[in-house]
Symmetry: C2
Subunit: 233 residues, 2 copies
DNA sequence: TAGATTGTTAATCGATTAACAATC
DNA sequence: TAGATTGTTAATCGATTAACAATC
């Protein structure tokens, strides 16, 4: 029983390595050095070797890593050859895109149920999947073993959606909503609200533009922003 | 000139604080303690106070923070009252969803141009925005001042899309593709490929299920995964 | 004044990386 | 053997948090 903690960042990068290895494999490469793989994934090469070392010794000194072998190892570590059933709540938002274009199915994530909270799509078949009304949630979830829940609504019902998923026995939740969600700690929750990333990008742009200053004395009594989630003040 | 480095994680959390403050504001709250705001954003309260301390002293000892005032401060710090023009490449994928449902426009991110690489939507008007063929990229970009580029294709053309955006003078790129993108370092790039998050969730689920083991000797010669981006081996 | 909560320090924790001995 | 590159150590860097003096 090895008790070394695996950094989350390491697990994240493992996926990056895997994808680059796929590219190399398709290109017919047989071996790759940590330097090359690191470059392709924008990572320090010592970082990469350290990441792999948490799981074993996969390379050959003086030579590098065998592409297919390393892929297989990462596959095993990440459980990439498993297949997972997902259910989706919300078709407004990003949910409709997920429903239409199932890129992730190639990666073992199968969308097997979709629930519309607006009622707009309920009953429709979209790419061979029938959209259910949210009222049918319990019945449908009972009849299908679902591993993962995807929340693609952005409203005061976000937490309810999460609760419903938890009750239905999912083990993980991907939350696209900008509302944070609470779940028992054995349920894996990841927030994927990309508008935060936009804010991060524009902050960095603004900082670069003005260079240098952390204003020592902010004192405008500027109005609250004109756009933005109606600040009914 | 204050040279203190602001941790990226701090900037990220600032958005979280802001959104929770919006909720409080709508609920009619006038003041909030670091403990409450921290709880609402799943953060340690010392963390929150430390985050704010990078930018100034916004609270009152023994009392807490004035909700509206703190919102205004974070707004200024993050530049949330600014407005940004975005262009989008790719309507297959998540791009179509962005085009249809413009939730982010409430936050000051305006989609002003969309380019289709498949030609499927070129010429169509979707929610008062005309979709252009990718051939018209240079012309359209020249005639509109674009701050941010969104990449929503997932193909070998990802880097070309990024290069085109850079040539057109964008200052930041949000990349939904699972291909990493290279750009000059004064261009802010954020990767938002959510399939990585799915991999992270399922890794954590699998780890929890088997508990404890970092296998000491992985030696299966299992086949490469059946799904997944055709491993043409 | 007594109670509450901030702002800040110092300790801790975790993640990154340079450097190099091991070894193919 | 000579050259190359891994695996690992130790140093560094950065981020989190407990604790508490300052102070409303």
């Amino acid at each position: 029983m090895n008790t070394t903690k695996i950094p989350k960042a390491t697990v994240f990068r493992l996926t990056l390595y895997y994808r680059y290895l796929q590219t190399l494999c398709r290109a017919g490469c047989h071996t790759v050095s940590s330097a090359e793989l690191a470059k392709g994934t924008r990572v320090n090469s010592a970082q990469l070797r350290k990441d792999l070392s948490y799981f074993g010794k996969f390379g050959v000194r003086g030579v590098g890593y065998e592409v297919k072998k390393l892929m297989r190892r990462i596959q095993e570590i990440l459980g990439l050859s498993k297949s997972w059933n997902m259910a989706l709540i919300g078709l407004d938002h990003i949910g409709y895109a997920m429903l239409q274009h199932r890129q992730f199915e190639k990666r073992g994530y199968n969308l097997v149920a979709a629930f519309d909270i607006t009622g707009r799509y309920a009953g429709e078949r979209i790419h061979s999947l029938t959209v259910h009304s949210i009222d049918e949630f319990d019945t449908v979830m009972q009849n299908n073993p679902i591993d993962l829940g995807v929340i693609a609504i952005d409203s005061e019902h976000t937490q309810q959606a999460a609760d419903a998923f938890v009750r239905a026995g999912v083990k993980g939740i991907l939350n696209f909503s900008s509302t944070l969600v609470t779940a028992p700690k054995d349920i894996q929750v990841k927030d994927a609200d990309f508008t935060i990333l936009l804010d991060n990008i524009t902050y960095a742009i603004t900082r670069d533009t003005n260079k240098l200053e952390v204003p020592s004395d902010i004192h405008s009594d500027a109005p609250l922003p004109i756009h933005g989630i109606a600040l009914s003040v």
